[in-house]
Subunit: 483 residues, 2 copies
């Protein structure tokens, strides 16, 4: 049959091959994340030369329909998320910052974490299978044996020196030349952001943030008595700099800080380009609004190339950079840090006031892991896995969710932002999913005003048959709402 089609075609042969693959994709035979036939196999099937297939796949790759993965072949690219790429923003709303609504949903979603029955697709944590569990725990045992007194004593702010040296060394990859003394160790990235907000803002102040935005930070902003000013985030390029500039020019004096997840943000998974990071720093510097930059996913770029941070362009000491090892090594170790520049003393003092110090044994263990644990090797391996799993999950969304469902295209991390058609209510889906012991993060908790009613965030940190069948169940539950 293929042969008969081929023989009647007047187009170049490679184009016919490309169209054939395209047809299989449009038709749904090949889904996003699926592997397309190997060059050799298709050449044999269609009785064309290997070079013709190569040419065809090159065309499809240029058109972003398929993508090559080293040593693995070609795959159908995930669908693009097509929420408006030039974000719409509403000036009057920007001029009236909204109180975060401390709602019940958040508390319920948080409580889900404790439910052992639940398949936790709603929480943005790495799966233990992709963490160097045994190696890290062995280093914990060894380092506490090596430095017994250090392990039980306070590592007072700024924290363990060796750990800070290792972090400073790694920060070169993100474009920052720092001394260990410019780093304060914290109990994870969340504490780093909490300390930064407490340092920069007083109750009643306004904080500029991305929307949609990591729900924990929204709740934190509310808890500190602050108001949030939502700036749209594009699914490809991160926070809209135009909207930010506009908002600050009308609102600048009330805004005391801006919080941005610059690489592979949460929940969308998009990043600011290097150029835009530089512009972001310039804009905020112009309005004298300090930037709290969260780079927690920065080590997880699928490309393997460590993206720069906005802090790298910080000429005016206006950026507080926060991060942690919670996504790459061990969330339960609670080791993060902040580079606070001129606020360093304040942050150290506040760290001491609010919890004295970060737990010592995990600091010793992670310092040793960074020095001798093969952290880069570990990153190389999990980056590939996350890229693969993300594609699998995107593919499964395509296969199992109602037509019209869209998914974001993260280039790193493991958060997937899914837009369902407007007929699907994410809160209802959340409730239905729980009955099937599946936890998801419903869109409304990512905004101040329960926007994103038809969005959910999923966690692609694990991929197996159980997850696949959970995605299928979610797809069915979503479809059931449309009947």
């Amino acid at each position: 049959m293929l042969n008969s089609q081929l023989s009647t075609s007047r187009k170049p042969l490679y184009e016919t091959v490309a169209e054939r693959i395209n047809f299989l994709i449009d038709q749904g035979t090949l889904r996003p994340g699926d592997r397309v036939p190997s060059i050799r196999k298709l050449s044999h099937q269609m009785q064309v030369s290997v070079n013709t297939v190569k040419e065809a796949y090159g065309q499809l790759e240029d058109r972003q329909i398929i993508e090559a993965r080293p040593q693995s072949g070609f795959y159908v690219r995930p669908q693009l998320l097509e929420i408006p790429s030039d974000p719409v923003f509403n000036p009057p709303e920007l001029l009236n910052p909204t109180d975060v609504n401390l709602n019940q949903i958040y508390h319920r979603v948080m409580r889900d974490h404790l439910n052992p029955q639940l398949l936790k697709l709603g929480i943005s944590v790495p799966d233990c299978s992709l963490l160097p569990v045994d190696k890290l725990n062995r280093m914990l045992a060894r380092e506490t044996r090596r430095y017994p007194n250090q392990a039980v004593s306070y590592q007072l702010p700024p924290g363990n020196l060796r750990l800070r040296q290792q972090i400073a060394r790694r920060m070169l990859l993100s474009g920052c030349t720092l001394s260990p003394d410019q780093i304060v160790i914290t109990s994870g990235c969340v504490e780093a952001v909490d300390l930064s907000l407490r340092t920069l803002c007083r109750p009643g102040d306004t904080v500029a943030i991305e929307t949609p935005f990591y729900f924990n930070f929204l709740q934190l902003i509310d808890d500190l008595g602050l108001k949030a000013l939502e700036i749209p985030t594009s699914p490809r390029g991160g926070i809209s700099l135009e909207a930010l500039d506009y908002a600050l020019s009308h609102n600048g004096d009330k805004v005391k800080a801006c919080v941005v997840i610059s690489n592979f943000n949460n929940p969308v998974g998009s990043s600011l380009s290097t150029v835009d990071k530089k512009r972001l720093v310039e804009i905020l510097s112009h309005y004298q609004v300090p930037l709290i930059e969260d780079d927690i996913f920065g080590d997880l770029a699928y490309s393997g190339e460590r993206p720069k941070v906005a802090k790298a362009f910080d000429r005016n000491d206006n950026v507080l950079l926060c991060s942690s090892f919670s996504k790459t090594l061990a969330p339960g170790y609670r080791v993060g840090w902040v580079v606070a520049g001129r606020y360093q003393d304040d942050i150290e003092r506040r760290k001491m006031l609010t919890g004295v110090a970060t737990a010592s044994p995990p600091q010793l263990a992670i310092a040793e892991f960074l020095a001798n644990g093969g952290y880069e090797h570990h990153l190389r391996s999990i980056r590939k896995r996350y890229a693969h799993q993300m594609a699998q999950m995107q593919g499964a969304i395509g296969r199992f969710f109602p037509a019209g469902t869209r998914a974001s295209r993260p280039q790193g991390g493991f958060n997937l932002w899914v837009e369902m058609t407007s007929g699907v209510d994410a809160m209802q889906l959340y409730k239905d999913a729980r009955k099937h012991n599946i936890g998801i993060a419903p869109g409304p908790i990512f905004s101040l005003e329960r926007k994103y009613q038809n969005f959910i965030r999923l966690n692609a940190a694990r991929w197996d048959k159980d997850i696949e069948s959970a995605i299928a169940t979610l797809g069915q539950l979503a479809a059931a709402q449309l009947v």
Copy 2:
């Protein structure tokens, strides 16, 4: 010579023996903390019967001049601190709560902790030699090997179940019957208090506290935008309930919480009696002011009898009990807890917002230590040591400091509060001491208005020749100010 004195006396023989010992003390031959001659030895020396010496020592004990220590003999009791035992308070001042003065001194004292040259008598931490360092670190290694995934994963609030079970079991000794579900694990006691204050108060609110009071809490109260209402603490009985009642009756509506260290408080070392704990709870309940009770030193009673907590008398769910293992097991492990009653949900949510969870490996290790590590045995041993060291330090103060210097008489813990004569300036002493590489905590940082100009807090958690000679140096420096 003794014999000739004895022969001319008309008093009962035992009284003459008692007077002789008293004379040696008054004269300074026997100093506070010194061991007095054994019964057998004195009987031999003074050629009186063993029973006569026993009678004499009984008299001296009744008059609180000497004290018996089990299996160890009799010792000269430390001098009583005689700051006015009925605290003076000033109603107009109470009606105008003061902003905490975020002064430079605090920051400098904190920075001292990081100076490796300094002999740290100014920081209230246990010495590693009295911590079960190796056992604890071994348990850390073993438990993380036993539960590898738990060790690297979040132990989300309320925290590790086994640890909460162990704490609930121990709380029976303090008079509280609790289920593990009523306990939230925190990163030390300071975080527990921070979370409690954030839960109960909004900026501008007033918090009733003891004075003098742990400087970290004063700074924390300021940092949260709260005002502090200082209630005098007596050197024997803890916070003055009369003053508290008076202050609340005039000020009650502005006071949103009361923070009290109920056992062996910081810096004085005094405790509320059981009766007064009950009254404290009743008074605060009457004014509907929640109590944040800090019991961090409660396990360190020299008598060996675990004192009750105020929470034990909490009939109206009005007490938040905070504590930790930082004084008994490992400050660097950062494991504390809060029993928050009706505020439990709020505290759990806030814990999640501000740092997600407490580090996991230390939770696993301490749970195991409480279950199988001989915690009670450990406490028995360190209580004796601290009692002994405290007496040694008190004795050294008596020996080396200018006449008129007074020291508090803690019955537990390791904080010693020293009142020098009014001619000695604690800040000057602090500066002079640093030149000799001795760190002390100057009195003014324990109050809002730099009261306690001639007080210092010392740490009796260690006792050796170095400490003794540091106390001698401090005494000389104090004396030099009086010249």
